[in-house]
């Protein structure tokens, strides 16, 4: 094995083979994150079900019953839960990626491994949480279905894995950007919870995309790549919503641009980030 260490390696070169070499570490990090969180908790992994459940109940009361925001005819609970589950995945991956360098600086200061492993592990860890939440969603979906809700599932339901995958890539892309920026500006770490909360309200989680009609606002809404993911997932399961194909294409465009640029900037900055941390 021959390793060459040189100054100013080209910024576009990401050593994927090396990441593959460290796959065992990737899976151990995933295992660590999945097991360590639940130690010394009574409810353990149940927390990952309780959290979206409570959020959905709150949304149902506030936005459904009090504010009476329409939900495209989808039962309130299913409407909010579907959005919350997907949003939680996106936010989980984003937060994991955003903290990957600064939060682990004590380890990264002492040992080298491909740093991209940390945000990648976030995609997988949060996928496990998503799977748990998805079971919860299916439970409520069928409950409402058999109680006579007029769901019209269609072929878009088959696109769900693609939508979830896109959601993970998106979270990764934004997470990489934020982690690179937090090296220089720690403020971002404090602002992040606030930003993600605002972002959530800019995504059709508590309101349907059909409610946004002004062209400019519509463009802004669909420029947020999460909009397409949420709307199309809902459409696949219930036949309701705004399956805007142009919007979907746009969301893939944004996702890929953010992901590729995020990978590149992360790759460039991670090489010397311990100098400025």
């Amino acid at each position: 094995m021959r390793t060459v260490i040189k100054a100013n390696q080209p910024w576009w070169r990401i050593n994927w083979r090396e990441i593959w070499e460290y796959r065992d570490l990737l899976f151990l990090l995933v295992k660590r994150d999945l097991t360590a969180i639940y130690k010394q908790t009574i409810l353990g992994p149940l927390w990952f079900v309780i959290q979206p459940l409570l959020t959905t109940i709150v949304f149902t009361i506030i936005f459904g019953n009090v504010a009476q925001i329409p939900t495209d005819g989808i039962p309130h609970f299913v409407f909010y839960l579907s959005g919350t589950v997907l949003w939680n995945y996106f936010q989980g991956v984003l937060n994991h990626g955003a903290g990957s360098l600064v939060a682990n600086s004590n380890v990264l200061n002492k040992v080298y491994f491909p740093r991209l492993i940390i945000p990648l592990s976030g995609v997988i860890v949060n996928f496990a949480h998503l799977a748990l939440n998805f079971i919860l969603f299916l439970g409520f979906y069928f409950w409402f279905f058999f109680r006579g809700s007029a769901f019209e599932p269609n072929l878009w339901i088959l696109a769900l894995p693609v939508l979830v995958f896109q959601c993970g890539l998106m979270g990764l892309g934004y997470g990489l950007w934020i982690s690179a920026l937090t090296i220089k500006y720690r403020d971002l770490g404090f602002a992040l919870p606030f930003i993600t909360q605002l972002w959530m309200y800019a995504t059709p989680i508590v309101y349907p995309a059909s409610l946004v009609v002004r062209p400019l606002m519509k463009l802004l809404l669909w420029l947020n790549p999460m909009t397409a993911v949420v709307e199309f997932s809902r459409y696949g399961f219930t036949g309701q919503g705004t399956p805007n194909l142009m919007g979907y294409a746009l969301s893939w465009g944004v996702t890929l641009v953010v992901l590729v640029s995020g990978l590149l900037i992360f790759n460039k900055l991670q090489r010397t980030f311990v100098d400025t941390i």
Partner: protein, 440 residues
């Protein structure tokens, strides 16, 4: 000629100054604000760094430099199977060199070519998670250090046996004592099995017997034909383990020779520098509130003369200059003597050994002598830490300088038998009687 295991060519690492200490936009704005008002913005950020390198960066910045070369134009080759020791003062660039070789950060210029599988050990227990069990952490730590899961599985029983804590493998490591923690961590590290091992000072952990075991393991690794690159302050370990040694000074390679002769040169240069020191501008290895500060420290003979080396049993006079920012009558001066392993052999506070504290007047330099009539130290090298503490109230540490002084003790026939006392740190005057009759 074989391909070198490590080949370093013109390796340099430069830090742009002004990049540390400002981590938030607020800091950035304050920095600009100070600049706009014509004040020296650096004064605002002159806090002492956490690491030796950072402290040197701060020093360089205070001197008004734009750049700081932590390492400059270093070139050398290490052949397969060589055990090379790296020595140098704190902040000389040893750790920077190791960080470049381990790819933790990237060089500014130059090139390193490494042939073989590398494992690095800059710290034991990197990535240990307190909530995970010993078993889980062995896997985690092994993987972080670059082992495959299969390799860890194959080595697992040996790792556990080496750590000597079989019973606690399924206990979360947060319940471990620090000794157990270190044992397990070192056990993983010792079974890395790479072709090239880069090690930084990790032996300064654990109790004496465990340290011995670790040194032994290092020796074993070296004997099996692996390449070892070893950074240490422990001259004994360097002498014992390495054939060759590199001396790094101010970021450059000062000397590359047989280990024993490099150690000698280093000890000599550090002795002349550490017998009589001006401490006013020192930021390295220093902590404390700064209310009263040490300004100078010198080692003298009992009669107050400078000397080059002490003989066993000689007395010592440690002369310290102190200046305080205000009047105080509760300052106690503390002196501790350490051996090269970093063991604290003894320490004394003026408040406890004399029952009195120092009276200081604002801004007045005062000289205090600590007189040790007889020191029963075994021959070897020793360092001195000095601190100042306010005894009243919260016992505020006003200044503390690590490695303020260093001196050497050379052997003397203290028992008059031609035999030297054995032991690790001190000897005692002894008498023997048989049936009530004095021997000798």
């Amino acid at each position: 000629m074989t391909t070198p295991a490590i080949s370093v060519r013109n390796l340099s690492k430069c830090y742009k100054l002004g990049t540390i200490g400002r981590h938030t936009l607020v800091d950035e704005c304050q920095y600009l604000w100070h600049k706009l008002r014509g004040k020296d913005p650096r004064a605002h950020f002159s806090k002492i760094g956490h690491t030796a390198t950072e402290a040197r960066r701060v020093e360089a910045e205070q001197e008004g430099n734009q750049k700081f070369w932590a390492l400059r134009d270093v070139s050398f080759d290490v052949q397969p199977g060589e055990v090379v020791g790296i020595i140098g003062r704190n902040g000389a660039g040893k750790s920077t060199l190791l960080k470049l070789l381990t790819r933790i950060t990237e060089p500014t210029s130059g090139e390193v070519v490494i042939n073989g599988r590398v494992a690095s050990l800059l710290e034991v227990g990197t990535g240990f998670h307190p909530e995970l069990t010993g078993r889980e952490n062995v896997y985690m730590n092994g993987a972080i250090l670059g082992m495959k899961k299969k390799e860890i599985q194959a080595q697992f029983d040996r790792i556990v046996a080496f750590s000597e804590i079989e019973k606690f493998m399924d206990t979360p490591v947060k319940r471990y004592s620090s000794g157990m923690y270190v044992r397990l961590a070192f056990a993983v590290a010792a079974h890395l099995d790479p072709e090239i091992l880069l090690v930084d000072e990790v032996l300064a952990v654990g109790d004496a017997s465990f340290q011995k075991k670790c040194l032994g393991k290092m020796g074993d690794v070296a004997k099996t034909g692996r390449t070892v690159f070893f950074v240490s302050h422990n001259m004994m370990a360097i002498n014992h383990l390495c054939q060759r040694s590199l001396l790094i000074d101010h970021g450059t390679l000062a000397l590359d020779d047989e280990a024993s002769s490099v150690v000698k040169v280093y000890m000599k240069s550090s002795a002349s520098r550490t017998m009589n020191r001006d401490l006013t501008g020192l930021t390295l290895d220093r902590t404390g509130s700064g209310f009263a500060r040490l300004e100078s420290a010198a080692l003298l003979t009992l009669s107050g003369e400078p000397f080059s080396a002490l003989q066993m049993g000689d007395g010592l006079r440690i002369r310290v200059g102190i200046r305080a920012k205000g009047n105080a009558s509760d300052i106690s001066i503390g002196i501790s003597i350490y051996n090269l392993h970093g063991f604290r052999i003894c320490g004394f506070q003026s408040a406890t050994t004399s029952g009195k504290t120092l009276v200081l007047e604002e801004g007045q330099l005062t000289s205090v002598d600590c007189i040790i009539p007889e020191m029963n130290l075994i021959s070897g090298s020793y360092t001195v830490n000095i601190n100042l503490i306010r005894m009243a109230g919260t016992r505020e540490m006003t200044d503390m300088v690590r490695h303020a002084l260093a001196f050497e003790v050379i052997p003397r026939d203290v028992y008059g038998t031609g035999q030297l006392p054995t032991g690790d740190a001190v000897y005692f005057p002894v008498l023997w009687e048989q049936e009530g009759n004095r021997l000798l």
